[in-house]
């Protein structure tokens, strides 16, 4: 059920009415029921996977949590009798058992994801390799349909189980509450990837009808609809025309495609997250922000702190740090220092962890070489930037430009275009074509076509361009205006007429210029396929 479909609006309205008329203690149960109904729309067969993940995570969490309680009780009871060494040995024994349940749970859940998402890709590559080496083989290429939101909910549950293992918070005793955390419908399609301790209070809490929160939620939903329907879906045909006809659209069109795709993806993904956060807000539930005006970032590392924040922080906490500060990695670093000197030895943990994280980030986005190369190129740029820091510092000191407006603008534009270049790997059919198109940017000089009306052949009319320019300017204005205080808070203190005129204007704008209706089909969110 698409967020922008009539079914979803009807579903949300019915749920909203029921939510605020039933006794508050049943609200979370209604949300669970609604989430499963929402999920069943994607296909009843997929329910098996989310239920399997829920059950395995619940039982592993319960076992790990119970072991923690046993340990605490035992150590408290035998406080005087045990020596420090005995306490340590006991703790290590318990930790070992907990680790076993953690590993089993992770293997099981990542296993489901791996089989469904990556088996086809892996088998295809093995088959190609064997064919290349002239080995006769009969490897079948399996293709599974991906259950809705599997990459998102798997990462969310694994974050939960690791936190329980780390004793960050106690395990959830109520399996139905855990089921709601995993399946909560606004975040199922494209995140954000929530943390249990961030969400549990409002997700399982009792909520009174709060007109202000509901109004804020509705505004956020409206804003998401605006970005998705007016901008993202309007740009879609132009992006498709360019990337699906690489022989025809080269040189400057590749840059146009990058630019359009940057805007489309931003409007699509942030619009979807706006709707998710807004819907949750209407039910009194706070989801964490997933973006912090990413296109204003001055470096690629800053960009990744501000774009898809929940995924970045997941990788940082559950993969980057555990790898880079593990005992074996620190020992390896020590050995390398002795062998190759301090400079190389110090970099080993960071380099290995960064490469693994970005490889996985690429794979998380999709089972294709495009995504793997995209991830590794991101990694390369980040590591090269890291190495260049002393160079940048010397340059900034020498020319004293760091805090000037023009230099910052240059940094923002550089990051935007760098990211746009890398992101193009999402679009073309394979890595080879993408690199060929990169080359044409520098070899095929057809900039004059930009001004000869050719842009009107991309599937957008002049009125589409005018709507797009106005809409993008509005998004830019809101983005700039909400640097310190949120735009909705600023609007809330304006006179009533101004507020209602703004809402009304936005609704009219979406109704008239939204890319839907007869002849149009609101398209799927881009991130829902990851």
């Amino acid at each position: 059920m698409l967020f922008t479909s009539y079914e979803f609006i009807l579903f949300a309205v019915v749920l909203f009415v029921l939510y605020y008329i039933i006794p508050k203690k049943f609200q979370w149960m209604l949300l669970l029921l609604a989430s499963y109904v929402f999920y069943s729309f994607a296909g009843m067969g997929y329910m098996v996977y989310i239920l399997a993940t829920t059950l395995s995570t619940y039982f592993a969490g319960r076992r790990i949590g119970t072991l923690q309680t046993i340990q605490t009780d035992y150590l408290n009871t035998h406080k005087e009798a045990l020596s420090r060494e005995e306490r340590k040995t006991y703790k290590a024994r318990i930790k070992k058992k907990q680790r076993m349940y953690l590993v089993l749970c992770m293997v099981f859940n990542f296993g489901i994801l791996a089989v469904l998402k990556y088996s086809g890709f892996t088998l295809l590559n093995v088959k190609s390799l064997l064919d290349f080496m002239n080995f006769k083989n009969n490897i079948p290429i399996l293709r599974f349909a991906l259950p809705l939101g599997i990459s998102f909910y798997t990462f969310q549950t694994m974050g939960y189980i690791i936190d329980v293992y780390r004793d960050k918070y106690p395990y959830e005793k109520n399996i139905f509450k855990l089921a709601l955390f995993i399946s909560f419908f606004p975040q199922l399609i494209q995140g954000p990837i929530s943390r249990f301790d961030d969400l549990k209070e409002t997700l399982f809490g009792e909520h009174s009808f709060d007109a202000k929160a509901i109004s804020f939620g509705l505004q956020r939903i409206l804003w998401g609809f605006f970005k998705k329907l007016v901008i993202a879906d309007r740009l879609l045909p132009a992006v498709n025309t360019i990337v699906r006809n690489p022989e025809e659209y080269q040189g400057v069109y590749v840059l146009v495609g990058m630019f359009f795709y940057a805007i489309q993806l931003y409007a699509d993904f942030t619009g979807g997250i706006d709707i998710a956060i807004g819907v949750a807000e209407v039910f009194g539930i706070r989801l964490k922000e997933n973006f912090e005006r990413p296109y204003f970032s001055k470096s690629i590392t800053e960009y990744w702190r501000r774009w898809h924040i929940s995924l970045g922080s997941w990788f940082r906490e559950y993969m980057f740090f555990p790898i880079s500060v593990s005992k074996s990695m620190l020992n390896l670093s020590k050995s390398c220092r002795k062998l190759f000197g301090d400079a190389i030895g110090k970099r080993i943990p960071v380099y290995i962890a960064t490469i693994l994280v970005w490889f996985t980030t690429g794979v998380w986005h999709g089972a294709a070489w495009n995504f793997i190369v995209w991830g590794l190129l991101n990694c390369l740029v980040i590591l090269v930037s890291q190495e260049c820091i002393p160079l940048y510092q010397r340059f900034h000191k020498r020319f004293n430009v760091l805090h000037t407006f023009w230099y910052r603008l240059f940094q923002v534009a550089r990051t935007f275009w760098l990211m746009s270049f890398l992101r193009t790997l999402d679009c073309y059919r394979d890595v080879g074509t993408t690199f060929r198109m990169y080359r044409t940017v520098f070899t095929r000089w057809n900039w004059n076509e930009l001004f000869s009306g050719e842009l009107l052949g991309l599937g957008l009319t002049m009125s589409d361009y005018i709507v797009l320019i106005l809409a993008v300017l509005l998004v830019l204005y809101v983005s700039l205006a909400s640097r310190s205080v949120g735009f909705r808070e600023q609007l809330a203190v304006k006179p009533l007429t101004v507020r209602y005129l703004s809402y009304f204007a936005l609704i009219i704008f979406i109704l008239i210029f939204g890319a839907y209706g007869v002849g149009y089909d609101a398209s799927q969110f881009i991130y829902s396929q990851f």
Partner: protein, 76 residues
């Protein structure tokens, strides 16, 4: 404490680590710095810093890092 400040200054000579208590919140040290820092602290104090201790409260200031090390040394 002096040793901790010395390690931190080796990474960011421009920061006053005696007074700054927003090292993580203000993004003065990033995740790459944390790894280098943990590696050096582990070696210097012969401790192991578990990954669950990597939270902003433990790394926001030299004082917080010092408190973390004291606690870990006690637990050893």
């Amino acid at each position: 404490m002096d040793k901790i400040i010395e390690i931190l200054e080796g990474m960011h000579p421009e920061v006053d680590f005696n007074t700054c208590n927003t090292l993580i919140d203000d993004k003065i040290i990033d995740s790459f710095d944390i790894v280098t820092l943990i590696s050096e602290l582990s070696e210097e104090f012969d401790i192991s810093i578990p990954v669950e201790e990597i939270i902003p409260e433990n790394f926001n200031s030299a004082k917080a890092i010092h408190a973390l090390i004291e606690r870990l040394l006690e637990d050893e």
